[in-house]
Amino acid sequence: MPNSTRRAADPDPAPDTVRLRGVGFGYADRPDVLRDINLSLTQGSFHFLTGPSGAGKSSLLRLMTLAERPQTGRISLFGREVADLPRGGVPAFRRRMGVVFQDFRLLDHLTAFENAALPLILAGGRTADHAADVAEMLRWVGLGQRMDALPPALSGGEKQRLAIARAVITRPRLILADEPTGSVDRAMGEKLMRLFQSLNRLGATVLIASHDEALAERVGATVLRLENGRLRQMEAAGEAA
C-alpha cells in the first residue's frame, strides 16, 4: 500500500528526502516488526508517525538513521539508495539528519553544552566557533542555566530538551524525532513543536514519532499510522504550519 505524502498542489515536486519501498524488518525474536512499508517524505514535509507502543515506530526511525538495514525492500535517502552506500559514506548522510532518540542518547561525561555542540564538533567545527549558537539554542530550550550540568544531573524533561537542541543545532535537512515531547509538560511540548515547525518552514523535512495523536492533531501535520508493522492509514490532519 503506497503512502505518498507528496503535496498535490506542488507543481515541481522536490525529490523525496526519504523513500521506502516494500521495506520489511525484524529482529531474531520479532521477525515481522515492519512489513511491506511504502513511504515517501518529500523535502520540506512535516509528518507525525503514530501508533501504539511496539508498533515499530522506533524501528522505522532506526532504518532511516541507517542504524539498521532492511531485510527486504529498498530505502533511499536524499535521492540515493542506501543499499548502494558504502560504510564510509554513512557519516555524511547522518550529518544531514538531526535525530532525537527516545532514550536521549546523551553522553553522560559531557556537559549539556558539549552534548549540544557534539554534531558541530563531529562535522569538523571547533566548539569556540559555534559557542554563541549553542548557547543561544540551549537558552531557547530553557537550559540556559544548565549548560555546565552533566546529563545525570538533569531531569527527564531537561534531557529531552537537550537531545532536541543537539538534533537541530546543525539545522539538518531531515529531522527524525522519537517521542520528543514525552518527558516535558504540555507548554514546553508545544514550544518544542514550534521549534520543529520553524525548522520545517526553513526547509527541513520533519518526521516525529509519537503515540500522542492529540498532539499531532494540534500541530496539524500529516499523520502516518503504524500498526502491527504496517502503515495502515494516512490521515491528512492538516498542513504543517
Binding site: R87, G88, V99, L107, H109, L118, L122, R166
Partner: protein
C-alpha cells in the same frame, strides 16, 4: 598519577574506559623490561667488543727449545726476535714463577714443582697496526726457533659470536615486548570499545566516521602508552644510573660495563610505546567497527 592520566585524553570518550589502569601498569612494566634489555644488550656488546679488542692486541708464543738450548734461553731469544718485528709493541718471556702463578688456582701448590711447563712469550701488539700470526711465525722460523704462535683468534671468534648472539637475543626480546605491548593495547581497545559501545553508537549516529572513532581510541591509548612508557623507562633509567654510580667508571661488573650515555637510548621507549599503541588501537578499532557494519 594513574588517575591523572585517566582524566586526560580525548573528551568524547568517557574517562572511565575499561581496563586502563592495568594497561598503564602493564605497559610501564613492559617498557621497564625493554629498557633493561636494551641497555643490557648495549653493555654486553660493549664488553664483548672490549674483550675482542684486548684479545686482538695480544698473542702468545709457545717455544720448544732445541737440544742444545735451555727453555728459558729459547724463550728469551724468541722474545728478543719478536720485539724487533714491525707491529709488535712489546714481547716478554714468561718466567716459571709467572707461569706457576697462572696455574696455581687450577692444579694447586703441591703439583707445581714437578709439572713440566711450556716456555711462553707474551706479545703485546701495536693496536694500530698489529702484526699477524704468520708474520710472527715467519720471524721465529728465520731465527731458528721452533715455536707456535697463538693469536687468540679462536677465542676472539667465540667472543664476537657471543656478542652477536646477545645482540640478537636482545633484539628478539625487544620484539617480543613490543608484540606483548601491542596485544595488551589491542585487548584494552576492544575492552574500551565494549565499555563505550553506547558512546560509540551515539557518536556514529551523530555523524562520526569510523576513522574519527578509531582516532579517539588511538589518541587515548597512544597518550596512555607514551606516558606509561615514560614511567617504565624512567624507572629503568633510575635503576641503571644507580648501578652505574655504585659500580664506578667500569660499570657494575666488567661483564656489563654501563655508561651514562647508554641511558639516552631509553628516550626511544615512550616513543616506541606511543607508535605501537597508535597502530594497535587504530587497527583494532577499525576492525571492530567494520565487523559491526
Amino acid at each position: 598519577m594513574i588517575r591523572a592520566l585517566l582524566s586526560r585524553g580525548p573528551g568524547l570518550l568517557s574517562r572511565e574506559a575499561g581496563g586502563e589502569r592495568w594497561l598503564i601498569v602493564v605497559i610501564a612494566v613492559l617498557c621497564f623490561l625493554a629498557s633493561i634489555a636494551a641497555v643490557g644488550a648495549l653493555a654486553a656488546d660493549r664488553a664483548a667488543h672490549g674483550w675482542a679488542r684486548q684479545l686482538r692486541a695480544e698473542a702468545t708464543v709457545q717455544v720448544r727449545p732445541r737440544v742444545d738450548e735451555t727453555g728459558p734461553t729459547a724463550a728469551a731469544r724468541a722474545a728478543e726476535t719478536l720485539a724487533g718485528v714491525a707491529g709488535v709493541a712489546e714481547a716478554e718471556a714468561m718466567d716459571r714463577k709467572a707461569a706457576e702463578a697462572l696455574l696455581r688456582p687450577w692444579v694447586g701448590e703441591a703439583a707445581l714443582p714437578d709439572l713440566p711447563l711450556p716456555y711462553l712469550v707474551t706479545v703485546r701488539l701495536d693496536p694500530k697496526n698489529p702484526a699477524s700470526a704468520p708474520t710472527l711465525s715467519r720471524a721465529l722460523a728465520e731465527a731458528g726457533l721452533d715455536a707456535t704462535v697463538d693469536d687468540h683468534s679462536l677465542w676472539r671468534g667465540e667472543v664476537e659470536r657471543s656478542a652477536g648472539v646477545i645482540t640478537a637475543l636482545a633484539g628478539a626480546a625487544f620484539l617480543l615486548i613490543a608484540t606483548a605491548t601491542a596485544a595488551a593495547i589491542a585487548y584494552a581497545t576492544r575492552a574500551g570499545m565494549a565499555t563505550q559501545a553506547s558512546v560509540i553508537e551515539t557518536l556514529s549516529l551523530n555523524g562520526a566516521s569510523d576513522g574519527y572513532v578509531a582516532g579517539l581510541f588511538q589518541r587515548r591509548f597512544g597518550g596512555l602508552a607514551a606516558a606509561a612508557g615514560a614511567m617504565g623507562a624512567g624507572a629503568a633509567a633510575l635503576l641503571l644510573a644507580l648501578l652505574r654510580l655504585i659500580g664506578g667508571e667500569g660499570g657494575l661488573t666488567s661483564a656489563l660495563p654501563l655508561a651514562f650515555s647508554d641511558l639516552l637510548i631509553l628516550i626511544a621507549c615512550p616513543l616506541l610505546a606511543f607508535g605501537v599503541a597508535l597502530l594497535a588501537a587504530r587497527f583494532t578499532a577499525l576492525a571492530k567497527l567494520g565487523a559491526h557494519s
